[in-house]
Amino acid sequence: MIRLALRRDHVPGARGLAGAIAGPLLAVGIVTAIAGLVYQNDTMTAIVLLFGINAVMVVGFQAFAGNTGLVSFGHVAFMAIGAYATAIVSMDDLDKSIVLKDLPGWLADIHFGVVPSLIVGGGAAAVFALVTGLALMRLSGAAASIATLGLLVITVNVLSQAGRFTHGPRSIFGIPDKSNFFWVFSSLAVAVLISAVYKWSRAGLRARANRDDVVAAESAGVASLRARLLPFVLSAFLTGVGGGLYAMLLTAFSPASFAIPLVVVVLTMAIIGGVNSITGALTGAAVVTVLNELLRRVEDGVDVFGLHLKTATGMSGAVLGIALILMLRWRPAGLLSAFELQVEGRGDRPVAVPAAANAPTASPGGTHAGQRV
């Protein structure tokens, strides 16, 4: 007999761990099934694929923000690097000779398939995260957020200047159109699997211990820099894969494609779903996609009770902004808070863990005590 539960912490033992990893995977299965049904409608295919790619990126973002409590504005930079790296290794000879004719020989001769291209995209982002993270992960709180915003500015600047590799500020085009339903949602499943395995590993626990109480964690032998660097690199890899998928969906993009509006989308999805939960990341991506789609229809003009309503473009941004503020005011931990979907057998009960890593710690500040975003 198997049942589903929403828990902050999993049932102890190997079976509990397996159930905790199976839960988010089941959530991916549900999301994929619904997406598959919507995908049958021809007008919705692009939206479904974009949703899947956004979900990959939100899961990637969550792996960092959820486990370390730091908010990164720089994940769009990893996405950009993933997109460009994937583009460079996946384009065919003819397109390369037109768009990237100054590419060094060893790169010009590479023509990878979908999976190696995505891994190169993720890997490039991960290496970049490792190098920059050694510096950035020493900062904490708001200073870290601002520094990651700096990372985005640096990346966009360098991508638009390094014309030999990126076609400069102009659009790069001719990337093979390989982001189909199968690759997008398989990538999502793999991303969730990696993220869940990490979350319930000792390394994940170390990161959350560091998030909840730096001093206590350090005195228990958890080195802050290492505890944060691993989730930073891991989440950069997942986000880079998302960027690669994005490149193969758009087939043409420029450094300007990776800007604040994209940050808004990923951040809103993660916050609304609940930044401390992988299941929440999927939920947030779904909720915001549906909301955005409805708003886009309103922007195009809708008829309500005989009235033709039409608003200026950009309204979806404003509504997302209001949703973000209301969410932070009334449910700052997001829809799912730190709860994860878990699969467990009958009779499995979690042991009463005294103040586990996910339990909110008390801090002064009234209603917001301990609710981390």
């Binding site: 020493r138 709180g141 708001a142 957020s145 209001i322 932070l328």
Partner: protein
């Protein structure tokens, strides 16, 4: 020698703008730990206010104070409606809230003015060039430096010589004790938002007088510059904000003067890399006060 002096004037004028930006931002931060992502949009709105007034024939001398008044009221309104409910929330929650505020007021700007750039019609002396001996300096740079010095002077007078200022400093240092002393935290917050808004009004005029055109999306550049300046100087310290702004101006002008050819394109990246390097050497910023406030 003359080019060197010109670079120094350049650096001072750019630095003065950044210092004012950082000052307005750090003031609210010191009271409620809010790093305001919507701050650049305040500049855009005050520039739009000036644009509307100057376009309707309001004389420049009248338009400037009205524009500053508008920015002050707008800042207080935003503070009251959007940020006051979040007093005591963790800094990251506040940062993301301000992101939401940015999206909303940016949409309102798009709604009112559209995406097309609007040109600020300033009096002609703004584009003049003054000649002092062999040195040629744009008048706008002199105005910027002068305004910067004046605002900082007034700011310190208010902060150190008035009851409001004393309450502000007290609330920033020991919020609980200040409340016990009978100072209403709401009022302190509103004063902070008012001063921050007034400064945003001044900087908005200076910034867009230099840039020329206003668009609803031109807020990101000033916001990022203000962020770098306050992190560079040390979060939450007014002295640090001024120091950080001037340092950022000096770094930028030095790079523009020394880089050449292809490397010039990488200037923004080099500036950021330099700032991150400084932060790693001095994690508490140049002024050395606490980077992350105690919770």
């Amino acid at each position: 020698m003359t080019t060197f002096i010109q670079h120094v004037v350049d650096a001072l004028s750019v630095g003065a703008t950044y210092a004012l930006l950082a000052l307005g931002l750090t003031l609210v931060f010191s009271v409620m730990n809010l790093i305001n992502f919507a701050y650049g949009m305040m500049l855009v709105w005050s520039a739009y206010a000036a644009y509307v007034m100057l376009d309707h024939g309001v004389p420049f001398v009248l338009a400037v104070p009205l524009c500053i008044l508008f920015a002050t009221l707008l800042s207080m309104a935003i503070g009251r409606i959007a940020f006051r409910p979040f007093i005591g929330a963790p800094p990251i929650t506040l940062l993301i809230t301000s992101f939401g505020v940015l999206l909303v007021i940016q949409y309102l700007a798009i709604l009112c003015f559209g995406e097309q750039p609007r040109i600020l019609r300033l009096p002609s002396f703004f584009s003049d060039v003054a000649e002092i001996g062999s040195i040629r300096v744009p008048v706008l740079e002199l105005i910027t430096i002068g305004t910067g010095a004046a605002v900082v002077a007034v700011f310190y007078l208010v902060l150190n010589r008035t009851a409001f200022g004393a309450q502000l400093r007290a609330a920033a240092e020991l919020p609980d004790v200040t409340r016990l002393m009978g100072v209403k935290p709401d009022r302190v917050l509103m004063v902070a938002f008012a001063i921050s808004g007034a400064i945003a009004g001044v900087v908005g005029l200076l910034w867009f007088a230099k840039v020329g055109a206003i668009t609803p999306r031109s807020d990101l550049d000033p916001t990022i510059k203000a962020f770098i300046a306050i992190v560079l100087g040390g979060l939450g310290s007014t002295r640090g904000a001024i120091l950080g702004g001037l340092a950022l101006g000096a770094i930028e002008v030095t790079l523009s003067a020394t880089l050449s050819g292809d490397a010039l394109g990488y200037q923004p990246a080099i500036v950021f890399a330099a700032v991150i390097a400084i932060l790693i050497l001095r994690p508490r910023g140049l002024s050395g006060t606490t980077l992350e406030p105690a919770r």
